[in-house]
Structures are given as C-alpha cells and as structure tokens.
Symmetry: C2
Subunit: 252 residues, 2 copies
C-alpha cells in the first residue's frame, strides 16, 4: 500500500479538494483507496459521506481512546473513508505524536488487504498529527495556491519536510508540489507558478489545477467535481495529476 | 485599549488580509494600532515589514523564552507590529496556554500608552495560542469565505468561542462574522451569504468584502490594498467595516 499525504500549513490552498478528487480518480482508475481525514474540520469526511450530519452519525459513540473512527464505504465504489473524529483535536497534543504514529503504522499494515492507496488529508498546520502522518508517507503532495502568501510559506514547508525523521534512516518521502487555483487571466498566477517552477523544477508537477468555480459548487452538493462534471477543466486536470503520479512518479 | 482578535480555524478565508487592512484603516482613522502576529507563517508580519527577509531580520536573535518579539514600526504612521517569532510553534504546546495568556495580559497592560487598538492575527487553528488570544479579546472578528466548506466550520467555530472561559465570569467577547471573497456573479456566494445571515442575523456585519484580485496583487508588493489602491472596491468595503465596528459595535 502506498501512503500519499496531502499537506501544507498554509490554509485554503486546496488540500481537501485535492485529497477528495484524487481519491475518486484513483478509485475510478481501479486502485482501491482509503481516505483518512486528519483535519478536525472534517471537510473531506463531509464531502465523501454526504454532509456534516452524516459525519456526526458516522463518528457518534466513537471514544477518543483510539484516534481513528471506523472505516466507512462512500458512494464511490472502491473508495472508503475514515471520518475525522472529534477527538482528533485532543490527539494533536505534542506528547502523543509517537503513540499516534504507532496507530497509523498499524492501520497501514492492517489495511493492506482493503486498499492499494492510503490518502491522508491534513489540517493547515505542522503540528504533531501532521508530523506523524508525514513520517509515515511514501509520497507528499503539497498543493500550492497561485497566490503570493502561499508562496511565502513554501520554503518553510519544505524545510519542515526535510527535518521529519523517517522510520528507516536515509529514506525520505518524495515531495511533489501541485499548483492550484491557477487563473490564466491573472498576471499574478503566472508570476507565482513561474517562480515555484524555477525554484523547484524537479518537484513541481507539470499539470496545474485551474481556478474553477465548479469545485466549490460540487462540494456544496457533497460530490467531488469528478462526479459533478466529469468533462470540466478542473476534473481533467486532476485526471492528468493522477496519471503523472501513478505512471511517472510513484514506484510500484 | 480594545483587543480585536481575527480568528477562524478554516484556512484561507482572509484572516491576514482582514487584520492587515483593518490595521491600516484604523491607523489612518487616527486610532494608533498595534498588530500582534500569532501565526508562525508570518504573512501579516511580512505584509507590514516588507517581505520575509525583513521579518527574519526583525526576529533575529529573539530567544524563544518570551513569546513576543520586539515591537516594530511599519511604513504606516500609527501602525506598529509584533512580528511572528519562529518560537511561536513551540509556544503552541498545550501546557503553555496559561503562561502565554499571562504574557498577553502584560502586553495589553503595558501597551496601553502606545496604542488604542491591539489587533491579533491567528493561525488557522483552535489550539492553545488562539484560545489564549480569544480569552483576552474584547471583540472577535471571524472572516467567513463565501464558500461551502467555510460555512460548514462555522457552527464548530461559534461553539468553541462560546466555550472559551473569560477572565471575569459572565463577560464574553462579542463575535462578529465578516463575509469575505463574495463574488456577486456567483450563485454560490449569494447562497452562502444568505445562509450565514439567516443563521446569525445579529452577528453578521452588514458589509461584505467582495472578491478582488487586487488584494493578492497588493500583498505581492508588501502593501495593504488601502495603500495599493485606496479607491478600489476592496478598500472601500474595509473602510465600511471599520465604520461599522468603531461606530456601531465597539463600546468605548
Ligand atoms: N481549483 C479550484 N478552483 C476554485 N476553487 C477551488 C479550487 N480548489 C479548491 N477550491 C475551493 O477553495 C476553497 C478552499 O479549498 P480547500 O478547502 O480544499 O482547501 P484546504 O487547503 O483544504 O483548506 P484548509 O486549509 O482549511 O484545510 C474551498 O471552498 C474549495 O471549494
Ligand atoms: N477579498 C478578497 N478577494 C480576493 N482575494 C483575497 C481576498 N481576501 C484575501 N484574498 C487572498 O486570498 C488568499 C487567502 O487570504 P489570507 O491569506 O488573508 O487568508 P487567511 O485566513 O489569513 O489564511 P491562513 O488560514 O493561511 O492564515 C491570499 O492570497 C489573499 O491575498
Ligand atoms: Mg482542508
Ligand atoms: Mg493568515
């Protein structure tokens, strides 16, 4: 099983949209996928289970003793989700990073039979839960909004990723940058994307995700854009992202 | 001194843009303002000091023993800033909320002479630093992006705000919602803003902030929109926000 973590401490850059859309695309491409929602906001859980009410039902009665709520199927064949449990905020305390890490390891080992890919959506932070997820990642995809503030945080993010110690010394997760909310009519979008590609030529995915209002419209219908409008520019860009990740970047 | 905290755990909703633009507007209106940047991403610090390099210089040599770096003047008369120090991430550990709270209280008491308003920009979280800031707030302004995911987190945010215990029992900070990135051409913007106004009629500011690309362009020139283009729609909306806050909402 490959573990792909979607992370960036900058808020609102498209982490959840990327995690959910990639999950649907992987499942449609025949790679059974489990999405773990580590963000207490539970946006990914809500997008996949059909709204905040369904999430509350799915995690009701789950005690905080274990970080992960039970695995739930979604309306997409081949895609299941571990919804964000309310106790996640408590787990984010500093001293539980190692304990959380061992729970995550056990999940990776036991889910092998059910899914080929484990996708993890993170909160906008570099706290203990996110660090534990990064330590267990094979691949990190960091969405980078084509905006100035998002670019400022990039070197901070890459420095933090470099400093995460891995289970086996010497191995590091591969880190890929995905330019998001690119608006071809805006000079700023072109400036930011050129700057990011110039600084990180090998890490920046060739495909960028355009700004497309249908992403937001789809999430208000609790559907990923892939299902809401499979022919849209936004969907097609994520299909290209999947192709570049599965066939060019991820080994095995 | 009035303490105004800009907070929302949802990322990318316009917290920093609101903190910086309000700071510039308050200072121009003659109310000396101190902006405290509690987000380790330091976007507000960079916007007011002229870029990430200037921030690194301003906090160089600052030991993590004290959470606040020294107060710096900005290029705007009447507006000064406490840049985010790299040690803030360490302070965000659970057991230091009370210690941080007492540092914040001392800052509020000692800055009385320098500023009429203390503005605090928060990271996208509800962790210990943000909770400590909320406990010391007279007013909380929560930017709410006119998008579906941002709306989902609203009740979670308001529940957390209700549960923050205050220094003097029985008093609660006033909480105002500011609708941001409203795009009049989008049905979704109208739907979200109507829904927010319907659920929280007394707390939602009359004025909303429109989506305006010049906000992003201004920040790439390390200027607030107020300075970059004082006549723009975006600037005028924040001037209205200041008017509604200063004259209708804040007592004293
Ligand atoms: N390419 C896109 N074009 C237009 N809107 C988008 C795009 N991608 C995401 N969005 C919208 O932008 C908002 C932010 O995206 P999203 O919530 O996925 O970001 P995030 O990084 O997960 O945020 P957080 O930091 O709060 O977890 C959402 O309302 C989403 O619908
Ligand atoms: N009204 C607006 N119209 C268009 N763009 C905006 C507007 N307000 C903010 N922006 C841009 O949207 C992005 C997100 O805004 P900002 O960084 O202020 O949000 P934030 O809530 O502080 O994010 P974080 O959660 O990471 O701290 C920035 O690139 C900013 O320039
Ligand atoms: Mg998210
Ligand atoms: Mg911010």
């Amino acid at each position: 099983m490959q573990t792909i973590v979607i992370a960036n401490q900058k808020g609102g850059v498209g982490k959840t949209t990327t995690a959910v859309t990639l999950g649907v695309c992987f499942a449609h491409a025949g790679a059974a996928t489990l999405l773990l929602d580590l963000d207490p906001q539970a946006n990914a859980s809500s997008a996949l289970l059909g709204g905040p009410g369904a999430v509350a039902e799915a995690v009701a009665g789950h005690s905080g003793a274990h970080p992960f709520a039970p695995i739930r199927p979604t309306h997409v064949p081949g895609l299941s989700v571990i919804p964000a449990s309310p106790g996640l905020r408590e787990w984010d305390a500093r001293d539980r990073e190692d304990l959380f890490r061992s729970h995550l390891k056990r999940l990776q080992e036991t889910s092998e039979a059910q899914a080929r890919i484990l996708l993890i959506d993170c909160s906008p932070s570099l706290g203990p839960l996110v660090r534990a997820a990064l330590r267990g990642a094979d691949l990190v995809v960091a969405p980078v909004q084509c905006e100035y503030f998002a670019m400022e945080g990039l070197s901070q993010l890459l420095r933090s990723l470099e400093s995460i110690e891995r289970p086996t010394a010497g191995t590091r997760p591969e880190v890929l940058l995905l330019l998001t909310m690119h608006d071809p009519e805006l000079r700023l979008s072109a400036e930011v994307s050129e700057e990011v590609r110039r600084h990180f030529p090998d890490r920046t995915l060739r495909v960028y995700v355009p700004r497309d209002i249908q992403f937001s419209e789809a999430s208000s219908h609790s559907r990923s854009l892939f299902e809401y409008d499979p022919t849209s520019v936004g969907t097609r860009s994520y299909i290209e992202v999947v192709r570049e990740i599965l066939y060019e970047r991820v080994k095995g």
